[in-house]
Symmetry: C2
Subunit: 396 residues, 2 copies
């Protein structure tokens, strides 16, 4: 209706996958497609008492405007918690966000001019590609294996792309693949970032959901020059419907990101920030996260065991040590989007996310992301078994 739109709108398009998933709203469908936490595990009783206390007359400021950088008590609580977990920081380093997604938008706004190269993993988080699109980047992609981003390949990519400002990585229980970057590679990544003057956006919303093995230090804790921005969220450890995330960055970067936050939405929800701070102060977030670990770890075990039993041997999978997803690799030539539209949805009544959506170049059709956190045990067994049955037929 206007004669034209801003040029960036050429890059802002509906996702084909989103459309596909919309059409699969059959009640018999078992969906491994989302990235939702299990809502039966939300700490509702504790939150009810938190909100009840906040909505008293003497607490009316809980519903008022507050500072754009976020509620000081919440910034303080996050800094203490992250410091205790091995990533030292102070409250001033923390910027509260309206979910982790907002951090992707703000950091890209700060660093990306149209046509600039952004380095991402191959594959990478779909939400990041969606957030970055309006900034009109060019992508350089780095290979990923079971130890995370391949830093030898990264060195080559950096050599071939001088002047890159920004690298984006999901080092812990990567979305979509579930893999975790090794300590050795993290150290190498920091060296390369220092050498090439990169800002590293470390997106780690699943980090606390580790089922086995030892935590690997955050990139932020290994950072020697204030170039890592650590991004995280309450969506997976408390509840996504509160829409709260945070980033931690050096003063120079945090100051700029705070100005962009003010421009984007003034501030995050005061009531939600008060609720998160009260929950951390008055209840046991660590014990809650431990319950999530046990529950999601059992679901992961069930899903991997069922895949191993039901799927043909030619389908590979990752072994995530935490998080919400595993990643399937089908034989070369297999098109997971076509298979979903023609077989998985109509016949197996199962949905997943075709892998191509996670690749910056839109290629690599022979993968799929499957979620285990928000599917019941019965549905994990039934859905994976049905999918296996049809995959055996297809790949026979």
């Amino acid at each position: 209706m206007p004669q034209s739109y801003a040029r960036r709108m050429d890059r802002v398009r509906p996702s084909a996958i989103r459309e596909l998933l919309k059409h699969g709203a059959d009640p018999a469908l078992i969906s491994f497609g989302g990235g939702y936490p299990d809502q039966r595990l939300f700490p509702l009783d504790d939150l009810r008492s938190v909100f009840d206390a906040l909505l008293q007359p003497e607490q009316a400021a809980s519903l008022q405007y507050t500072t754009s950088d976020g509620l000081p008590a919440l910034r303080e609580a996050i800094a203490e918690r992250m410091t205790a977990q091995g990533t030292p920081m102070v409250a001033d380093d923390v910027l509260i966000l309206s979910g982790g997604q907002q951090g992707l938008d703000l950091v890209a706004k700060m660093l990306v001019d149209p046509g600039d190269t952004v380095i991402v993993e191959d594959p990478t988080f779909l939400g990041a590609l969606i957030a970055f699109a309006p900034l009109e980047p060019t992508y350089a992609t780095v290979r990923l294996d079971e130890h995370g981003m391949d830093t030898d390949h990264l060195a080559e990519v950096l050599a071939a792309n001088p002047g890159v400002r920004m690298l984006y990585t999901v080092p812990d229980f990567h979305n979509p693949t579930g893999v975790t970057m090794s300590l050795e590679r993290r150290r190498r990544l920091i060296e390369l970032a220092n050498e090439h003057g990169l800002v590293v956006l470390e997106d780690s919303p699943y980090r606390e959901l580790r089922f086995d093995g030892e935590p690997v230090p955050t990139l932020k804790s290994l950072d020697t020059e204030g170039r890592v921005i650590h991004l995280s969220s309450f969506s997976k450890i408390l509840a996504p419907g509160m829409r709260l995330g945070w980033l931690a960055a050096s003063p120079e970067l945090r100051e700029r990101l705070g100005l962009l936050k003010l421009a984007a939405d003034t501030q995050s929800g005061t009531l939600a920030m008060h609720a998160a701070a009260s929950f951390i102060a008055g209840f046991d977030l660590d014990a809650h996260v431990e319950r999530l670990r046990v529950a999601y770890g059992a679901k992961r075990d069930l899903m991997l065991a069922t895949i191993d039993e039901a799927f043909p041997a030619s389908v590979g999978r990752t072994t995530p040590e935490g998080g919400l997803f595993t990643w399937l690799t089908f034989p070369e030539g297999f098109d997971s989007a076509r298979f979903m539209a023609e077989v998985a949805l109509p016949e197996a009544k199962v949905a997943y996310v075709p892998g191509t959506t996670f690749f910056a170049d839109g290629g690599h059709p022979n993968h799929a992301r499957v979620n285990f956190s928000n599917v019941s045990d019965d549905d994990i067994v039934a859905g994976i078994t049905r999918l296996g049955h049809h995959l055996r037929r297809e790949l026979a």
Copy 2:
């Protein structure tokens, strides 16, 4: 710390006024500077019962992810309410936002390429200038008088700036001046928008807070070609700490704005959206707004009467029929920022917002915005009287 930032960061700077207000945090200070609603009027008892009902196990979806466009029940409630108030729309036209500020960011992203001209009122809402800055616009400004934007001047500005895509206006109880655009000018604005292919962003968060006179139809209700985007918010009629706003637009524009919303923060808070929808369904929002009208109307009366008594005759003011602000005009040559720093803050112990911050060109030093909604009656009388005393001395 990176070697450079994206070019847009040259436009993203801390506001001098914000810094000034930060330094005025003296407990004896009476601040007319903010734009806050009165938190003593928040419907806390009703909201406590709303949240209590939402945080029960069978309502756990209140804390889960939901659709990016916003909770269907809330979009429906807003469409019904706006239709009843004379701006017909359906739920699909509505996009839920994380506060009205987010609408400014999204609409500018959709329409503004670097260097593009955006038409704004002179003065205009500071938050809009902050939201638009990262999009690197050029401004063309249109004069404003007691009947709102001067559409004769607008016609000249449009003739001098062919190809403009976007016009931004606050037609009801304008921020910062408090004036309301007349019906005749609204009609003329729509004619001009049609002639010149403009998209009009109608920002109307104060519209329901009318103290006297009759409501003037929204620009959206006068729109004949789907070119008006209506932007509003729950911040002034319910509570800003819930961080909920909305926009209503034609399907073509709303679709694109929804994609930008997804990119910016995935969705607004599910719990807050449920709470607003439940409040509207179960309580009486209209009666609540009526209480606000009575309370803020009385504060406006008190402020205007005190100004008329205490200020020298050479200081002009507007007579707002609603909203949160009145606008002062000092004699030519008076610098309201200097006066605040040198006299109002240290001697009168009173803060306001110097007018220059609201002008796209940063000029016009002889104005100030004063807020009455969030100041007690005693403080209105004491603060305005003290300010008047020092103004009389200064302007003698």
